[in-house]
Symmetry: C2
Subunit: 205 residues, 2 copies
């Protein structure tokens, strides 16, 4: 089964600008992409990078370049793909092959893992005609669309697949639970501290 990994390294992760320089933000999204691809490689899936620009240095993964926003780029590949087909976002710094296997195992027509805040971090569709519309609460919209197409829906309960790399709080989770390149990137730069309200946050080492 092909699993597309949309990737856009142009001025990424602006909400991390308080923590990371422009160069570091690019380095970080490449680290996350590497983790997602390596985790996928350990499953039965065939990862395909769907990138807005040519990339290299990632071990020769199949890459499709489409210089388009996320939604039309993903829909272009879904239109051509033979189900089953999956889409896993590139910015999952806690991803593991075990978590992905839990996504791939169920037999329902549409299997999906939500992100924090209502996003759609990973899905598999076994039905034809499914199209994405990434925005705010896309998770709810995608489930509704899949049901309209007649699919049974299964939601995967995964902390690892729900954790994006968008906000400074996400870096806390990377330091606590990460196991790959993104964690290595974060541990070289940050450490966990408790703030005055006893919440865990990060500061530069």
């Amino acid at each position: 089964m092909k699993v597309y990994v949309p990737f856009s390294p142009e001025n990424p992760k602006t909400r991390l600008s308080s923590l990371l320089t422009d160069e570091e933000r690019v380095e970080f999204v490449y680290a996350c992409l590497g983790d997602v691809l390596e985790a996928l490689e350990k499953t039965d899936a065939e990862p395909v990078v769907l990138s807005t620009e040519p990339i290299d240095g990632l071990g020769g993964h199949e890459t499709v370049v489409r210089d388009e926003p996320l939604t039309p780029a993903v829909n272009a590949v879904l239109r051509k793909a033979e189900p089953p087909v999956g889409v896993v976002v590139a910015d999952l710094p806690l991803v593991t092959s075990d978590a992905l296997r839990r996504l791939f195992a169920p037999e329902e027509g549409f299997v999906v893992a939500p992100g924090r805040g209502g996003g759609t971090n990973a899905f598999i569709t076994r039905i034809s005609g499914f199209r994405v519309d990434y925005h705010g609460t896309s998770f709810l919209d995608h489930i509704e669309k899949a049901r309209e197409l007649g699919a049974d829906v299964r939601v995967i309960d995964s902390f690892r697949l729900s954790t994006d790399a968008d906000e400074p709080e996400d870096i806390v989770e990377v330091l606590l639970h990460g196991e790959g390149h993104a964690a290595e990137f974060a541990r070289e730069r940050f450490e966990l501290i408790e703030d005055e309200k006893e919440r865990v946050t990060v500061e530069r080492v």
Copy 2:
């Protein structure tokens, strides 16, 4: 297996004060407690409320009252308990019996589900002598202690068990994914909107 549910309804959830009145915060933690107890009742566990004050109106669950902070109260019951024994925090608004069964199923000596930010939202210990120390990154500390006691450790990857009810962003998750009393409470008062940065947040209905 007894599973203790620590509960303190005195001025709870102060970080939700921007969204909820004092009375609502108390009502909300009771709603969350009800969800946790009902989910536990659908498993093989025997829930015991470990409350800082007498409670009622929750269907006659066994209750232990200890007017102490969280850590000494939990350690007092762990000291007397015969393993296996579990502790599940009361403020898990997305809890389901399926998520709890995933916590109870593995056979390792210490099975734990982290909360966002490094907390310890739920654990089972099958070894004697395990004691808690709830604070910042208690998740890491608890794993280390369990290993020192010779336990194999298993971490449960659950978005539902990782989601607390501490911050306004958590109310977003309750509206998106909740199925019980906490979700009913939230849906009566809030709806999802997208802010100027296209993040999903909540406002009063």
